[in-house]
Symmetry: C2
Subunit: 250 residues, 2 copies
Amino acid sequence: MLVKSQVKYIQSLGQKKFRDQEGVFVAEGPKIVSELLTASNVPLVTLYAVKEWLEKNHESLVSFSSPQVVEVRDSELERLSSLATPNQVVAVFGQPSFTALPPRDSGRIRLLLDSIQDPGNLGTIVRIADWFGLRHVVCSPESADVFNAKAVQSTMGSISRVRVTYEDPEEHIGRDDLPAYATTLGGTSLYKMERIDAGIIVIGNESKGIRDSLLQKISHHITIPRIGEAESLNAAVATGIVLSHLVSSQ
Amino acid sequence: MLVKSQVKYIQSLGQKKFRDQEGVFVAEGPKIVSELLTASNVPLVTLYAVKEWLEKNHESLVSFSSPQVVEVRDSELERLSSLATPNQVVAVFGQPSFTALPPRDSGRIRLLLDSIQDPGNLGTIVRIADWFGLRHVVCSPESADVFNAKAVQSTMGSISRVRVTYEDPEEHIGRDDLPAYATTLGGTSLYKMERIDAGIIVIGNESKGIRDSLLQKISHHITIPRIGEAESLNAAVATGIVLSHLVSSQ
């Protein structure tokens, strides 16, 4: 049974202000919830699911007590869900802690996102970062929030393995003595670049690209050569292509 | 002034059945509409826009007569739009014709999509195909419709330059004598592959991958080596990475 205050609480977590105040975020759907339940650095706060899902997943839930796990009817799930088609389970998790995660080979390579606005793009970029072994994605303060429901969904669980911080991008780039890379027009062809071990790779806003003040701090300008006529590539796709060339274990 | 039958007509075009029957599709928002107006192979049928947009774009509209171009109020645009936030202009275009498009260097390379379900992914893949100079994307019949509003939006105009057809994937792959490539587990590392001039690159469904009967027809299995822990890459991102390695002018 669901009480009104629970519905109100979950709905309030649609807003970044309340998510940050509570230090939590919401994940929806069997795939991502199951993955996050296995992540030791993402504590479960409360989980609401239909009977069918609870029966199928009782093994992942043995360590949780009943007030944490609530069985709901389809109609109740609908009230909790932010999706057009609610999908069996909605869960509130504590925001991940990264202090105990082991280092990675590509850990000295970081992404710096300059105002990525679309939560889906942001989540997809975090997933790409995870694939290529990065541990840290830095976002400018105007970027989408990684704990937005759509962003969480798009990370496909990588949100538990990649730390996402919000910082002034110019300060960040100036702080460490790392080379800074960015895709811009008229740079060196990506295919002429060597693989890198450390550095900050800057990805610009979906329509405006990288702000001028940040461009001035880029040491390596890279271009993905175009054969056809599309005006640009999607920001997440460009990130994938660049990481594949610069970071991969060729 | 907008009449009720116009609203009904545009709304009916939200369904694939009516789009195909009429041979048209709907595009929304200044960026994509402006781009499609310049495409000689995409005829304008009707355009509905707010005064501000019409004044700014009167030069692109000089060759169109008044019943084709309709000024609407914000409240009227809302009734026509499929977007949460309607954006100045909604236009009905004839589905593009590709017979007169010039050939391209990468024209002998094709994408074959096996049940890409998400219209946003499909549109993004068409945009990537355009960037890398491909002229043709083949979709299995269960794939999303490229004339779906979200897909059109995600192509960012590439829908006028890349032909998208719906065909039985197994028949398609058997018809020409072209090598077939696909990303699967345990294939050759992408980074060991040579650049190709002709071939069919198969991209699988977002969660199920490539169907078994199609896998059997793949001559080259490719793997994008993973460094971190993400379970997979987004289908469009994987397409971008594969095309960047196989098709680019390195």
